[in-house]
């Protein structure tokens, strides 16, 4: 495996991302006050409480889809060393990522057009499905035998 320091740095950053996204319920915040973790994610997430999981009756700092994406990014990133050889030059993570992006668009559009109503659980699962192949696609470059599959 190459780029070990980059791998470790991103792993630590993604772990922090997941932990911070748990919000005030995890970090000892109060239900009545806005927690600093909410400020952290304001720019990238609508943070609507009704569309977020709750921890200790406090909504998490990101909605369920964003949490799924972060969890998927972290889980797959942590697993990269286990699959370094298999990932080398493997086009499948990028293909699955493309399908996952289309699934998000489909799910979001269907919900906006009121064809169906997604739930926190379904948004989390779809988010996870997007985050995991995103990490694995980048993971294809960590093998010392990598030739980008080209």
């Amino acid at each position: 495996m190459q780029h070990k320091w980059l791998y470790a740095g991103v792993l630590a950053a993604l772990a922090a991302l997941v932990l911070f996204s748990l919000g005030g319920g995890f970090w000892g915040g109060e239900a009545t006050a806005r927690h600093w973790t909410h400020n952290l994610f304001y720019g990238i997430c609508h943070q609507i409480p009704e569309r977020s999981f709750h921890l200790n009756e406090i909504p998490m700092a990101v909605n369920s889809r964003c949490f799924g994406i972060f969890a998927g990014l972290f889980a797959a990133w942590a697993a990269i060393p286990l699959f370094t050889r298999r990932l080398s030059g493997n086009p499948w993570p990028a293909r699955i990522l493309l399908v996952a992006v289309m699934l998000q668009i489909l799910d979001y559009s269907g919900n906006v057009m009121q064809l169906w109503e997604n739930t926190n659980s379904s948004r989390f699962v779809l988010g996870f499905i997007l985050g995991a192949p995103a990490s694995l696609t980048a993971g294809t470059l960590f093998s010392t035998n990598n030739h980008n599959g080209k």
Binding site: Y42, Q47, P49, E50, L141, N148
Partner: protein, 197 residues
């Protein structure tokens, strides 16, 4: 001298400098922040003008999702631009750096654009908060839950106006997500050159 040695020699003599990174970072960063700012403003005024429906799927919510997607893709686009305009040979760390810096540029330019808009329409934030609260008030849920949600969303809009908060919180998170998309783009668009890390 065989072909491989010649191409390695050419690579060394034409090694891209920092300014080549910045060109892609700044161009893509500025374009994406302007686009996301315009989308945010358009949907923000739609929210202000809209009758409160009580629906969670409001212009503000759509704005949040669209802006998030647009800003996160920027790192990948910056790397793609770099591979098109400078060289296809880039290291994973370089792709990551281009992605992170693009995220940082987006945050900084967005802060500047927001401040300029506060001069154009100083009441924008207050009008936005009123619209958000009116929409929450129309929601079909218990009064206490409505109050909590209205407070949370109003506070969310209000806190977004602090320059320090926008920079301090925005750069690491937007930077990290763009770093990841930058690496993905390196895997897809880049070609590998021999390296030690």
């Amino acid at each position: 001298m065989d072909t491989e040695q010649m191409s390695t020699g050419q690579l060394d003599s034409n090694k891209p400098g920092l300014s080549d990174f910045w060109q892609s970072v700044v161009i893509v960063g500025v374009i994406f922040s302007v686009v996301s700012f315009i989308i945010g403003l358009f949907l923000g005024y739609r929210q202000i003008a809209a009758e409160p429906t009580g629906s969670l799927i409001s212009p503000m919510m759509i704005s949040g999702v669209v802006i998030c997607l647009v800003t996160c893709v920027a790192g990948a686009v910056a790397v793609w631009h770099y591979t098109r305009e400078v060289t296809q040979y880039l290291k994973l760390g370089q792709g990551a750096l281009i992605g992170f810096l693009t995220g940082a540029v987006i945050v900084v330019v967005s802060v500047i654009l927001n401040e300029i808009w506060m001069l154009v329409d100083p009441d924008y934030t207050e009008k936005m908060i009123e619209a958000v609260i009116a929409n929450v008030e129309a929601m079909d849920m218990p009064q206490s839950a409505r109050d909590d949600m209205a407070d949370a969303m109003a506070e969310s809009v209000r806190s977004s106006q602090s320059i320090t908060q926008q920079l301090f919180w925005g750069i690491p998170i937007t930077g990290l997500l763009n770093l990841v998309t930058g690496m993905i783009a390196t895997a897809i668009f880049g070609k590998k050159e021999e390296e030690t890390f």
